[in-house]
């Protein structure tokens, strides 16, 4: 590794590790919603990135209101923005399921095209409403600055915030899917929609709420995203391929797999991109994932049962 001393290498790994951590958080936040929509329901939602963008724009609007109209609210807007971002994307997701996705279950190719088109429409709406230039939120004071761990290592507070949101949301989704009555309904419906209905579950309702919830989580991801980067009309679509990769690589129906694969892919990209160019890092990560998937098509953590 071209002339670096051991000490320097450690420092590089640490630094890139931190930047990988925030990439990991963005991947995971987006992948959580997609793990529900694609991993559980099997719907290929190409517009998932746009739901993240929508959540980010809602956060931007909230911060705009807080900084320009009611400045005294600036310190408190962020939690409110998270809730609004969730509600906004949840409602849009509900409507999309009701009027589009519902007619396309078990037709993956049609779903892919329809949601891709939806993504383009949303992107253009964002461009028309907010303009093509990227928007940044006004951050409250308590999110500025950094926590000094040692002389060499600075951990930015907004990064910590994103890590915190990611952890909370992951635990929340886990409990919802695997420890709640609602989770049983979701998993039963997604395994066999007809039989779940015949067992007494209102599957139409489960589908609508599941899809809407996945979108709502993307909205929260968007809110978190605004604290580490600025938002443009195509922000979400930049991550959509990586996110699908994360969910597929982790094993479609496994949440633990999603976490592990988001971590692996984010860290690999981040560390490799220091030594090579960014695109080479991507090529190597993608190749590794593709090769592993050739031997394990069910992904890293598929649950083992007879089918």
């Amino acid at each position: 590794m071209g002339g670096y001393t051991g000490e320097e290498l450690t420092a590089i790994f640490l630094m890139q590790g931190f930047s990988g951590l925030s990439l990991f958080c963005v991947f995971l936040l987006m992948a959580l919603g997609l793990a529900i929509i694609f991993g559980q329901m099997g719907v290929i939602n190409m517009a998932h990135g746009e739901f993240l963008t929508l959540g980010a724009y809602i956060t931007y609007l909230t911060s705009y209101l807080a900084s320009d109209v009611w400045p005294f609210l600036l310190d408190y807007y962020f939690p409110v923005a998270i809730i609004l971002a969730f509600l906004g994307t949840f409602i849009l997701g509900y409507l999309v399921e009701r009027f589009l996705i519902r007619f396309l279950y078990n037709r993956p190719l049609d779903t892919l095209l329809a949601t891709w088109g939806l993504g383009l429409i949303l992107q253009q709406i964002f461009r028309s409403v907010f303009g093509p230039r990227e928007k940044s939120v006004v951050m409250p004071d308590w999110l500025m600055g950094s926590y000094q761990a040692t002389d060499m290592v600075d951990i930015p507070l907004n990064g910590l915030m994103v890590v915190g949101i990611t952890i909370l949301l992951t635990i929340g989704v886990f409990i919802l899917l695997y420890k709640s009555r609602w989770g049983i309904k979701v998993r039963a419906t997604t395994q066999n929609r007809t039989m779940a209905n015949a067992a007494g579950i209102n599957t139409d309702r489960v589908d609508r709420l599941t899809f809407a919830l996945g979108c709502g989580i993307a909205g929260v991801a968007g809110a978190a995203f605004t604290t580490i980067a600025s938002t443009g009309p195509t922000t979400g679509s930049l991550y959509i391929v990586d996110t699908f990769l994360v969910v597929v690589f982790g094993g479609a129906a496994s949440l633990l797999g999603t976490v592990a694969s988001a971590f692996g892919i984010a860290q690999a990209q981040s560390i490799l991109s220091f030594f090579l160019s960014g695109s080479m890092a991507k090529v190597i990560t993608l190749m590794t994932v593709v090769i592993i998937l050739m031997f394990r098509p069910q992904g890293l953590f598929a649950s083992k049962v007879r089918r």
């Binding site: 009555r181 049983i184 309904k185 998993r187 039963a188 395994q191 066999n192 007809t194 039989m195 779940a196 209905n197 015949a198 067992a199 007494g200 579950i201 209102n202 599957t203 129906a253 649950s303 049962v305 007879r306 089918r307």
Partner: protein, 228 residues
């Protein structure tokens, strides 16, 4: 309890159930016999509502004809499909809990585990890892969790070894005793049918062609319908 009037089911343009009218009495076991391809499964699917049908289906005084399957389960019909169709990656306990959705009950009725102790022992195992016979018990347990008035079982003996089939017949009679419910079961195994039936019907090419009392049934005649 459960009645159909001139029930017709079609796949596309071809009608496969030609106007079946039947009536299941209270606390009665009705066995519907017939060879493969005669319409047993289609009939059952239309009774629970997985397949659309014409004609009337009523439970008590309520017309179920235009309702979705989950609504029929709420009204009191439970369905054990051919091939069992348990949810493989859900645990045994979670599989039974899916049936609770119809009633909104929080806890799994204890009589299900009394009936099938093996389900209690394996309640944390994934349902996909159970044997065929255990999965059949699980599918029945899931149906019973919905607290039905009428239990539909579509070929419960399919792919199950003879000693377990005997046990299953005993279980069905126990369920009828315990829950005071009606049971409709489709079957090809004559001995099993005779062990559970209060009344026997034979279905052939989508129509009921023969009906008699279960206790006094002429087994040879029914066997002739089943012979290829």
């Amino acid at each position: 309890m459960l009645s159909t009037n001139d029930l017709r089911v079609s796949y596309g343009m071809s009608e496969v159930i030609h106007g079946v009218s039947l009536n299941v009495g209270e606390n009665e076991t009705l066995t519907i016999m017939g060879r493969n391809g005669m319409g047993k499964t289609t009939l059952f699917k239309s009774l629970i509502g997985v397949l659309p049908s014409q004609g009337r289906i009523t439970l008590g005084d309520e017309d179920l004809s235009s309702t979705q399957p989950y609504q029929r389960v709420q009204k009191g019909i439970a369905y054990v499909p051919q091939g069992r169709l348990v949810f493989p990656t859900l645990t045994v306990e979670e599989n039974i809990a899916t049936g609770l959705e119809a009633t909104g009950a929080k806890k799994i009725p204890t009589d299900i585990y009394d009936l099938f102790p093996v389900l209690h022992d394996m309640r944390h195992r994934k349902a996909g890892n159970l044997s065929g016979g255990q999965q059949q018990q699980l599918a029945i347990g899931r149906a019973l969790a919905a607290d039905p008035k009428v239990l539909l079982l579509d070929e419960p003996t399919e792919g199950i070894q003879p000693s377990i089939i005997k046990q299953l017949a005993k279980n069905l009679n126990e369920i009828k005793q315990m829950r005071k419910i009606s049971i409709v079961v489709s079957e090809q195994v004559l001995s099993f049918a005779m062990a559970v039936a209060d009344r026997v019907m034979v279905i052939e090419k989508g129509a009921i062609v023969h009906e008699e009392d279960g206790k006094t049934a002429n087994q040879e005649e029914i066997a002739r319908y089943l012979a290829v």
